[in-house]
Amino acid sequence: MDIQLPQIIFQLVNFGVVFGAIVYLLYKPTQKILDERAKRVADTLKEVEKIEEEKEKIQSLKTKTKREADKEAALILERAQKSANVKKQELVEKTKETLQAEMKKAEAAWKEEKKQLVAESKKQIAEAVVEVSSLVLGEKINAKTDEKLIAKGIDQVLQNI
């Protein structure tokens, strides 16, 4: 084992060359690439986080808007229902009134018609009775008495109808 200083220095130089080559050709460029990649990954992750936050914000806004819209829709519906009910009530009332008026009108018309019919019938029946009676009794009974009897007879007939 002989230790020689020149050989030690030579080996130090050899190692120094390898050290320099490793630093400038291997370590620094590779580390730079790895750092850039790590930065890109970190940036992408940050961006994803940001997008996620934005998505959550939009989601919450959507939910809020939907809730508000639902609320408003319910309110409108309720208001519409109320208004429809009022209208319905009004219509019903109006219809009832119209109906009643119509019914009253119809009743009055009917009564009038009935009256007319009765009067007409009375007249026709009286004429018929007079005609028949005149045929039966001849000329013994005067016209005045006959009329009373005839009217009485007609009333009885009418009551029986």
Binding site: P6, Q7, Y27
Partner: protein, 304 residues
């Protein structure tokens, strides 16, 4: 068979440039350095290029290495800033030691070389010395005029010694062209020194001059003694780095040489596998210990 074994604890000199004896381990380290730098140039050139929409395989490899090492160093420091600072040291120690360890396992390393005459070298001198001892004893016995038989025996021994010296002078030793860089104590000492010097530099960088409080603390006698122990431990760390790595790798080489010499077929294979594993482990131990000591150097003595 055993006569063909070539084991030398120190690296053999191939040529000399002034005071630098260029040994086979220096040649191996230089080759490893050139190969590593060339590979890193290729890796650098491959960066940013894509193949069928995929990253270049060399870039993938570099990312795999850097990310793997980053995790390991981060596990020791627990601080990303420190990890980033220590990473090049860890990577350099690990890869330099690993490839030097593994280069020693390649076919031809330690086995291809040349024969060098050992005339006048310490091998021959040692052999002469070993044999000259009995000769001197016998010459002394001649002077006191002992029995003729003994003189004859002495002459025979003298002749044998002379023959041995002549044979030694003609002998040559095998010098391999390549030897694992880390199987040379100069390499491991250089790495150990670098690591320990860097630990001191890092300590000063992080703590300023208060770093030296660790060694020179005169608050009380106990702390003063602890400081001395710390100072001694800094030097002993260099020795520990040096001999651990050198011992493991050199022992592995010896093991492989002996196994290959005893039974050259099949039997050395598991040992090669073992040495590949030892190469990784030793590289990891050296690099991790360096990072641990760097990290300790950044922590003030009061924080311990």
């Amino acid at each position: 068979m055993a006569a063909n074994l070539h084991i030398s604890i120190s690296a053999e000199t191939l040529t000399s440039f002034g005071s630098l004896n260029f040994s086979n381990s220096l040649l191996t380290s230089s080759i490893v350095t050139v190969l590593m730098v060339s590979f890193f140039v290729l890796v650098r050139m491959s960066m940013g290029k894509q193949k069928n929409g995929l990253l270049h395989p060399l870039q993938n490899l570099s990312e795999f290495i850097i990310e793997g090492f980053y995790g390991m160093v981060q596990g020791v420091t627990g601080d990303h800033k420190k990890t980033r600072f220590f990473m090049p040291f860890f990577t350099s120690f690990f890869l330099f030691i690993l490839f030097n360890n593994w280069f020693g396992l390649l076919p031809g390393v330690g086995t291809i070389g040349f024969k060098e005459k050992v005339e006048g070298t310490e091998h021959a001198v040692l052999l002469q010395q070993e044999i000259s001892v009995p000769v001197a004893e016998v010459q002394a016995s001649e002077k006191i005029d002992e029995a003729a038989v003994e003189t004859v025996e002495a002459n025979e021994v003298e002749e044998t010694a002379n023959e041995a010296v002549e044979t030694t002078e003609e002998k040559s030793v095998f010098v391999p062209y390549l030897r694992a860089g880390t199987a040379d104590i100069n390499t491991t000492l250089a790495l150990g020194l670098f690591s320990q010097i860097m630990a001191q530099v890092i300590g000063i960088k992080y703590l300023g001059l208060s770093y030296f409080k660790k060694f020179f603390n005169f608050k009380d006698p106990i702390m003063g003694f602890v400081g001395i122990l710390e100072l001694v431990s800094e030097f002993s760390k260099v020795l520990s780095y040096t001999f651990r790595l050198f011992g493991n790798i050199f022992a592995g080489e010896v093991l492989l040489i002996v196994m290959s010499a005893l039974i050259p077929l099949v039997v050395p294979m598991p040992f090669y596998g073992l040495e590949i594993f030892v190469g990784v482990i030793q590289a990891l131990v050296f690099s991790l210990l360096s990072i641990v000591f760097f990290n300790i150097a950044t922590i003030g003595h009061d924080e311990h």
